[in-house]
Symmetry: C2
Subunit: 201 residues, 2 copies
């Protein structure tokens, strides 16, 4: 099956259309008919481009969304080299997830494809990439002696990932961003405290 330019465009339209639908209002669950309606396609097309059916389609959308998660935090996430940068990053995250509200495209997808090995792999890849970037930021701070070099950067990065993940989950179900803010702020404070001494706020 070789795809022509037209075919590729259609395939992309399906992915992006589904993504857009997840982004806006009451998804909860997505059906192939929803996707058909939004993207102006037929069942035949859906299975033509995604022979594996719904699962393969949703997984493709999940990969697309995963990239967005990272890129939405840029350029901040890629340059955590000063406390000011950390603050900007923190604000970007809070703003992004507040704006997103209870929808959370990736979350919805994961709920639906959750069990499959493919989904786990997508999630693991995203988390690993994300954690790696935070770790790089911490390492950069350590190189400039702004964070205690004895701190385990990878472990701290893992803590950030867990905290953000949980904070977003709570934001998703309550609509409140206080938990997300609290955990990120405290973890950043902790990074500072290792260097400045107690109560370094």
């Amino acid at each position: 099956m070789a795809l022509t330019a037209k075919g590729l465009a259609t395939r992309q339209r399906i992915i992006e259309g589904t993504s857009a639908h997840l982004r806006s209002d009451v998804p909860g669950t997505v059906t192939l008919d929803d996707i058909r309606a939004i993207t102006g396609t037929s069942k035949g097309q859906l299975f033509h481009y995604f022979p594996g059916g719904k699962e393969e389609l949703l997984l493709a959308v999940a990969r697309f969304e995963a990239d967005r998660v990272i890129s939405d935090q840029q350029p901040h996430l890629g340059a955590l080299t000063s406390w000011a940068a950390w603050t900007r990053w923190r604000n970007a995250i809070v703003a992004r997830y507040r704006a997103q509200g209870p929808s959370c495209p990736l979350g919805t997808l994961m709920d639906q494809v959750g069990a499959t090995p493919g989904a786990a792999e997508v999630a693991a890849a995203l988390l690993a990439r994300w954690q790696g970037m935070i770790r790089a930021g911490i390492a950069a701070m350590q190189a400039e002696d702004l964070v205690d070099p004895a701190l385990d950067a990878d472990r701290a990065a893992a803590a950030f990932i867990a905290g953000i993940q949980g904070g977003v989950q709570i934001l998703r179900s309550t609509g409140e961003s206080t938990h997300l803010e609290a955990v990120v702020d405290l973890l950043i404070e902790h990074l500072r405290a290792t260097r400045d001494g107690a109560g370094g706020r």
Copy 2:
């Protein structure tokens, strides 16, 4: 509709049976037929005791599970009055969720009833209760001057909740408890650091 003792027992059997099923192996999704099979009941009974159908039934199970979440952390969670107690609590959480592995009864339920207002209320109630107990623990430590009294106990408790939530979620999909351990450990370290000075590990 007044329930006799027999009726009440059946109702309870349905809830606990469903709960047990969620706890053990590959749930992902639960159907009324699953529940029928496990609890040895008929459709008629299911709707007799839960006129609201599947949603009402699952919500009842969710409430049952929510109680378990708290009680599984006892007696540690109720008496966070020394660093040793905090460590025991931390170990209890890690052990509990590691043992549970990727199943997570409450998570499965929330995925399925997620959208409804009732589910949000159950989740919010659990989180509030949980956070309150952690806050009480922090306050106790502050009273004994083991934690900086200037620290916002409620905010710190919120951070713990978010961190645990995220750590469990990651454990659920990767099978690794490193994130959960990292975030809880770092937050506890942070509590200590506010009092002991920098690097108080």
